[in-house]
Symmetry: C2
Subunit: 408 residues, 2 copies
C-alpha cells in the first residue's frame, strides 16, 4: 500500500483559470476505466516540457518535442494510458500524429498545437481508432474542475491518484498551481516521472517557464527512483495561462522566486507521491548524501544506495542490515574515497565511522528506526561541500508480483 | 531452486597434487555447519589473485593483497563463512592478521605466507576466537581429496555446493584443474564472485599464472551478475603447485593456450554455477550483445538488460514483455544509438527491428521461449564488430524472501 499518501480526493485539487480537462473510457486496454484525457489551454498560454533521455523514446515524445518548437503555441494535450506507443516504429509515429490531428480537427486548431502523451505497455500497436472515436467524449465534458478525474485518467499501476494544489499571493493577487502525475514502476530520474502535468494561471513568458521547469525538475522528478529503469515515455509539462489578475512576472525578481519555489513544491509533492506509491512500496526512504566534492559524486552514492536490491529488500524486512549500505557506498564509483572518514546515520543514529561500526551504535537503535514507514539514510562523505537528496522506496514481494503480472 | 545445476557430489571433484584441504564446524554464525576451511599448498607453489574494487573492501582482502606481494610465497589459505569481516575498521584488520598468525604458527610458516578470506554478514565483529580455536581441527583433517567438503565449507546462502574439475594432457602428461566457488547474492562483476578458488598441478611461473587469471576472469566471473551489488569481499584465487609430471609451460606456447583455455572453462563453469544458484533464481539468462562499436558499449547494453528489475521479474513470470528490453537498450547510455538499426532476438525468434516489433513475430514464439529454464536474449546493435556475453538470472519472490530474511 502507498506510504503516507492520501488520495487527492481528500484535499480538493483547485481549478486553474484557462485550463479545462475532459476524459473518456476508451477501452484502450481494459474496459470500465478512464483512460483518455484531453487538456485545453486558453489562447496565449505558454508550455514548457522535459522528456526522457531514453534512446528508444516513444513516438508521442518525438512528436511533443517537435510541436513544442513551433508557433503558434500549444493549445491542447491528449493523453492515453494502456499503451505506451513506444517501440512501434513509423506506424507509431503516424498514430501519434493522427491523434493530434483528431484533437485539432474538433477544436479548430492546427495539429502542431496539440501535444500527445501515451503510457502503458511498450512494443504493442496503439489502438488509435479507439482513441480517435472517443476524443469527442473528452471534449464534451471539458471542465475547469476536472483535475481529480484527470489524475485518475492517467493512472496505470498506480494505486492512488496523484495531484497537488498550492495557492500563493503575488502582487497582492492570488495565483493557483495545480499538478497531476502518474508512476509507478519504470521510474528513474533521467527526466521526470512517466507523466507529470503542472499548470498555473500566472502570467509569465516562455523563457520564465523554461527556467522554472529546469529548476524544479532537478529538485523533484530527477531526485526519485523506484527501480532504476528509465521509461521510454517520461514527460513533464509545465503550463501557464496568464489568466490570474497579476501583472507579468519577470526573471530574477522576488515574485519570480515565489512562483518558482511554489511550482517546485508542487513538483516535489508529485514526485514523492510517485515514490510513495512505487510498485509494492511499504517504506519511503530519503537518502541524503552530504559533504561530497561535487553533486555528481553525491548522486552516485545516493543512487548506489537507492538502486541496491539488497538494501531495498532489507528495508522491506525492517532489518537494519547496514553493512549493505556501506558496501553500496564502496561500489558507487568514487575511486579515491577514503572509507575511514565516512559517517553513516540511520535516522538520528550514528551507525558507522572510522571504517567500521560506531562504538556507540546499538542494534536496538537500528531496529527502532526501521519500524517507521519513513526512513532517512544520511551519508557524510566529509570531503567537500556538495549535498544531494534522493527519494526511493523499498523492494517487496508485491513489486515482483505486480511486475510479473503487469501484462495480464 | 538452482537452474540446471547438479551438485558436484554427482561428478567427483578431482584432487590436485600438492593441494590439501581441511575443514571444521567453528560455529561462527550458526551451529552444525562447516564454516571454516584451510587450504595448504606444497612448497614452490605459485598463487595469483584478483579482488573486489569496492572501496569498502574487507579487512581480509586488504591483507591478501599485501601478502600476495611478499616473499616467500603463499603456502596456505584460510576461509571462514558467516561473517565478512568487512566494515570492521582497525580491529577487523587485526583479526585478519591474527587469523594468518594462527595458521602460520601451526604450520610453521610466516604469517605473510597465509591468505585470509571471509564471507557473510558485513559490519559485525569477526568472532576471531572461534576461528583460532578451530584451526587445529582443520589442519588435522587436511586431505587432497577434500574438495567437496571444501566447496560445502564456503557456502552461505548457496543452495548447491559449487565445484568443477577438468583434466587435460600437456606434453603427453595429465594436468588436473579443480575449482570451487560460492555466490549467491551481492554478485556483480567488479571482480570475481564473492569467493572462487581454482588450483592446478601445472608447472608454471607466477607471470604465466597472472596472465591466465586476467584472461579467465574477464571471460567468466566478470561476465555475471545477480543483483548488481558488488561485494566487499570478492576474491578469485588461482594456484599452481607444479606437481604434475610435465615440464614448465611458458607464455605464448601451444601448451600455454591449452592450459589457459582449460582454466577459463573451469572458471566459466563456476561463474555460471553462481548465477544458476543466484538467490531465488528460476531462469538462467544469457545476454549476448553483438556488432557494437566496442566492448564497453556492448557491456553497457548487456548489463542494462541484466540489471533491470522489470526485465528480471518478467522473465520470472515467463512473460515475453519484450518492450522492457527495448527500454533498457534505450537507457543503457549509448548517446548516438540509432534504434532503427537494432535487431532483438529472444531465443531464435526475431522480436524487434526498424524501431518496432518485427512483422514476423508472433506472441506464441515469445511464450514458447519463455517457458524454457535457459533463455538467450540477443541484441544486434549493427554499428561495429565488438561482441560480449553476460549471464544472469531472473528476479523472483524468493530473491526478496531470502534477502529480507538473510540476517535472521
Amino acid at each position: 500500500m502507498p506510504v503516507n499518501l492520501s488520495n487527492p480526493l481528500k484535499k480538493s485539487l483547485l481549478p486553474v483559470k484557462g485550463v479545462k480537462l475532459g476524459f473518456a473510457e476508451a477501452n484502450i486496454r481494459k474496459p470500465n476505466k478512464k483512460d483518455l484525457l484531453v487538456i485545453t489551454l486558453v489562447e496565449g498560454s505558454q508550455v514548457a516540457g522535459v522528456f526522457t533521455k531514453n534512446r528508444f523514446c516513444a513516438a508521442p515524445v518525438q512528436v511533443c518535442k517537435e510541436h513544442l518548437g513551433t508557433n503558434p503555441g500549444v493549445r491542447a494535450l491528449v493523453i492515453n494510458t494502456g499503451n505506451a506507443n513506444a517501440g512501434t516504429g513509423a506506424t507509431g509515429l503516424q498514430h501519434a500524429i493522427d491523434t493530434c490531428k483528431g484533437v485539432s480537427a474538433i477544436l479548430d486548431l492546427s495539429p502542431e498545437q496539440v501535444l500527445p502523451f501515451s503510457t502503458g505497455v511498450i512494443l504493442e500497436p496503439l489502438p488509435v481508432d479507439r482513441i480517435l472515436s472517443n476524443l469527442g467524449k473528452c471534449i464534451e465534458n471539458l471542465d475547469e474542475d476536472n483535475w481529480l478525474n484527470a489524475a485518475e485518467s492517467i493512472m496505470t499501476t498506480d494505486i492512488v491518484a496523484k495531484g497537488y494544489s498550492k495557492e500563493i499571493t503575488v502582487f497582492g493577487e492570488k495565483i493557483t498551481i495545480t499538478g497531476i502525475a502518474k508512476g509507478s514502476g519504470m521510474i528513474h530520474p533521467n527526466m521526470a516521472t512517466m507523466l507529470g502535468f503542472v499548470a498555473t494561471d500566472a502570467n509569465v513568458s516562455r523563457i520564465v517557464l523554461d527556467s522554472i521547469i529546469k529548476y524544479s525538475v532537478e529538485r523533484s522528478f530527477n531526485c526519485i527512483t523506484v527501480d532504476g529503469d528509465t521509461s521510454t515515455n517520461d514527460s513533464f509539462i509545465l503550463m501557464s495561462t496568464g489568466k490570474s489578475e497579476t501583472q507579468e512576472i519577470a526573471l530574477g525578481t522576488k515574485e519570480y522566486e515565489l512562483l518558482r519555489d511554489a511550482i517546485t513544491e508542487v513538483s516535489i509533492q508529485l514526485a514523492q507521491a510517485i515514490v510513495r506509491d512505487g510498485e509494492g512500496a511499504t517504506k519511503f526512504m530519503t537518502i541524503k548524501v552530504e559533504a561530497g566534492k561535487d553533486i555528481d559524486e553525491c548522486r552516485k552514492v545516493a543512487y548506489a544506495i537507492a538502486h541496491s536490491p539488497l538494501i531495498k529488500t532489507a528495508f522491506f524486512a525492517s532489518d537494519p542490515n547496514l553493512g549493505r549500505i556501506l558496501a553500496a557506498i564502496g561500489y558507487a564509483g568514487i575511486d579515491d574515497l577514503d572509507v575511514d572518514s565516512i559517517r553513516l546515520y540511520l535516522g538520528d543514529a550514528l551507525v558507522a565511522e572510522n571504517g567500521g561500526r560506531a562504538s556507540s551504535y546499538r542494534e536496538e537503535q537500528g531496529v527502532a528506526v526501521m519500524k517507521e514507514p519513513e526512513i532517512t539514510v544520511r551519508v557524510m562523505l566529509n570531503r567537500g561541500l556538495a549535498n544531494t537528496t534522493v527519494w526511493t522506496c523499498d523492494f517487496s514481494y508485491d513489486y515482483v508480483k505486480i511486475n510479473a503480472d503487469y501484462r495480464s
